[in-house]
Structures are given as C-alpha cells and as structure tokens.
C-alpha cells in the first residue's frame, strides 16, 4: 500500500467518497468491537422504546470510520494526530453513510482534512482530521 507524501497533497485536494451501507450487522458489530454494550446500539426494541427509529451507530464507531476514511486515502505511513468531530443526526441502521473530505490546510508537515459524514437525515458528523505525512524522496 502506498502512502501519500507531503508533496502530493495540496489545499483543496479532494478525498474519494466512501459510502457505507449501515446494515444492522455493521451497527451491531462495530458497537461490540468498540466494547459499547449500550442497548440502543444492538437492541431494536429498546432503541424504539427510547424514541429512536432504529438502532444507531455509536460515537466510537463514528470516530473509527472517520479515521479509516482518511487513512484509506493517505496510506499506512500517515500518522493521525487529531480527530475533532461535531456530532449531528443519528446514523440509523438501514441508512447509508457517505463520507466526503478535502484538504483544508497544509503547513509545517501537518495536513488538516475537513470531513463530512452524511446520512439521509443530514450531517451525522462534521469535523477535521489532522495528520502527518512522510516527506517524499529527495
């Protein structure tokens, strides 16, 4: 797997979109992989009784998917420094999560990517990921 170098990225560079079907399997398996056993992430009846339409993604997974989205693009040698996310509408099972991003800043070796994760109800998560890319071959 190749990694982008600092020279290959410029402000305005657009990341390829990642679109994920949020099947119940995705919602449940990610909740359990993040050790989050809150019933609203795996038990439809409890989620509905608490006023939700269905089970929904937990926040640790939202963070994990954003991290994956950016490293899918940047490559394995990229080092993630920060992920800042503003949380919006829930991402329910049965919906589709589309992640889009673009490079917002690039200075002193650090690259800041603006990321937006959308579902049918609107913005599920918006924010920035800051990472360090290796320098290219001299």
């Amino acid at each position: 797997m190749r990694t982008l170098t600092q020279e290959q990225v410029e402000v305005g560079s657009v990341l390829p979109e990642l679109s994920l079907d949020l099947t119940p399997t995705v919602v449940v398996s990610t909740a359990l992989a993040t050790m989050d056993f809150t019933p609203v992430h795996h038990d439809v009846e409890i989620a509905r009784a608490q006023g939700s339409k269905d089970i929904f993604l937990n926040i640790l997974t939202t963070m994990g998917l954003i991290e994956r989205y950016v490293t899918d693009w940047a490559g394995p040698a990229a080092v993630i420094r920060r992920i800042n996310v503003k949380l919006g509408v829930p991402a329910y099972a049965g919906d589709r999560l589309s992640l889009r991003g673009s490079v917002a800043a690039h200075a002193e070796g650090e690259v800041t990517v603006e990321v937006r994760g959308m579902v049918s109800l609107g913005d599920h998560a918006t924010g920035t990921v800051t990472l360090v890319l290796p320098a290219g071959q001299p």
Partner: protein
C-alpha cells in the same frame, strides 16, 4: 428539584476536583481486540498489526466498561444531578481526540477524567438544557499521556409529549366565546338576557323574548336528563370511533344542550336518563363538555 444555580455550583465543585483517576484497563492493548475492531470497521490499513500499535481512535475502547452503580466520578455526579433536575435527555455534541502517540501492544492504559465546564441553561432544538464538557486522558504505564479526548453532551429537558390534534374544532366566535371560556374552567355556562334574565342556548345575539341585545351568562349546575338521542354508526367521523351517542340534554335551568353521552354502552342510553356534565380533553388544547350517567 435542583435549581439551575445549584447545578452551576455543583459543576464548579466537580471542576475544582481536577483530574480524577479511573480504573486501569481490564486488558493491555492487544492484537485480538485490534483485529476485531479493524474487521468491524472494514479498515484494511496494515500498519497496526504490522508494527504492533493500536488504531488511535481505539483509545477509549481499552477502558470501556459497563456503568458501575454508585459511581461517584465527577462526570457521573454531574449527570445524576442534571437527571434529578429534570434534564433527563442526553445527546453527545462534540468529540475531539488528540493522539500524542499510538498505543503499543502490551501497554496498560489508565484513564483520568477532568470535568471542565457546564454551560446553560440554553434553549436548543431538543429543549432547554446544559452543555457539559469533560476531558479524559489515557496514560501509559509510566504515567505518560498517550491520548486525550474532549467530550461534550447536551443534557436537555425533553418537551412534554403532545397529543395528536383532534381534527374537529368547535366554531368559536363573539357569540360563543364565553361558553368555551367556561369549558376551559370547568363551568357549563348558559347565555342569559342582561335585561329580562331569560336563558337561551345555543348562544345568539338577541333575546328571543324581549329582543334585547344585552347579554350575560349563568353557570349551570351541571346536571340534566336525556331529552332525545341518536346512536351514530355511520358515516365515519374523523377522530372518533363509532358507534357513539349524540344526545339533547335538558337542564333543570330550562335549556337543552347537544353533547355526547360517554362512559356507558350506547344501548344503555335512554330518554329520561339522568346525566352529569364532565369535561374531556380531546388534545392539548381542546376540551369538550360531555355527559356521563348519574344516579337519579
């Protein structure tokens, strides 16, 4: 119920406690949990398993635990107080993670939490609430910070559930407003002539006896007898289940009023049946006077 000022005072106390250490992770950073996480996320990045480090966004995963009852951590004390003050709804609004370095396989992480801020009450789309913010730092064995997370939630007071609006509304105008005003107060008002005292119902602009347009009203005792009735089976009426009884009720005050008879099977209603007025909320705004059987 705790006041907003007391909540802010309690928040300041929790913040003054500074960083409070939590229980260390149950397990050191380990390959099986990393593999499980990568698989669930669909993350094909080979760097983690190749070099023996954890995906940085897993920071919180290592110290996740079932909620402990009687947990007196600053965050939990604050959340409990907000619940008790009626701010029972919760929604996370911000999650900001900083990674000083990637955690290595074999390291045991220990979290420490600092309650930092309570802001509010603020009016939000979900209801009035407080924004509570805290920071968790994860330390490696030698007390070296590996990652930290700022987390903010909105604790809000859920708005009262609103009933479906009843689809039929009475005609309220200058002639009838006094009647509906009475219903809201639990009074059965009957229009009277301000000059000769004659009672009339339904309300109208002029006295049928002396032709005066000066109006007043009296409050009826609330008892009556069924003068006539029909059982409505068909056609369907929006907001109602058939069959229902529509009766003309004669009041001892001398007027007759149309209303539903409720609280008994339709076949038990009969002419001459003694009834008493009661007030039924149809939705969050509309109340209708209806009649129920009374012992004669």
């Amino acid at each position: 119920m705790t006041g907003d000022g007391e909540l802010r005072e309690l928040a300041a106390k929790q913040a003054a406690l500074g960083e409070v250490a939590g229980a260390p992770a149950a397990d050191p950073v380990n390959v099986p949990m990393i593999r499980h996480w990568l698989s669930a996320m669909g993350d094909a990045n080979p760097v983690y398993l190749d070099t023996g480090v954890a995906p940085p966004a897993m920071a919180q995963v290592w110290t996740m635990q079932a909620p402990v009852s009687g947990d007196r951590s600053p965050v939990n004390v604050m959340m409990t107080a907000l619940d008790a003050a009626g701010y029972t709804g919760v929604v996370a609004t911000n999650c900001e993670q900083t990674y000083h370095r990637y955690a290595r396989v074999g390291e045991l992480l220990t979290p420490a939490t600092r309650f930092t801020d309570l802001a509010g009450p603020k009016r939000t789309a979900l209801g009035v609430g407080f924004f509570a913010t805290w920071v968790i730092t994860w330390y490696a064995d030698a007390g070296e910070p590996v990652a930290e997370m700022l987390f903010r939630v909105l604790k809000f007071r859920p708005p009262e559930k609103r009933a479906e609006p009843y689809p039929l509304r009475p005609a309220v105008n200058r002639d009838t407003a006094f009647f509906w005003e009475g219903v809201r107060r639990g009074e059965l008002r009957v229009q009277s002539c301000a000059d000769c005292g004659e009672l009339r119902h339904p309300p109208g602009p002029m006295c049928p006896r002396c032709h005066s347009v000066n109006r007043a009203h009296v409050v009826a005792g609330g008892e009556g007898v069924v003068y006539s009735y029909v059982v409505h089976h068909h056609p369907p009426v929006p907001g109602r289940e058939t069959p229902f009884v529509v009766a003309v009720v004669e009041l001892p005050e001398g007027v007759r009023i149309v209303g539903n008879v409720v609280g008994c099977p339709p076949e038990s209603v009969d002419v001459g049946m003694p009834v008493r007025v009661t007030y039924r909320p149809m939705d969050d705004e509309l109340v209708l006077p209806v009649w129920t059987p009374r012992e004669s």
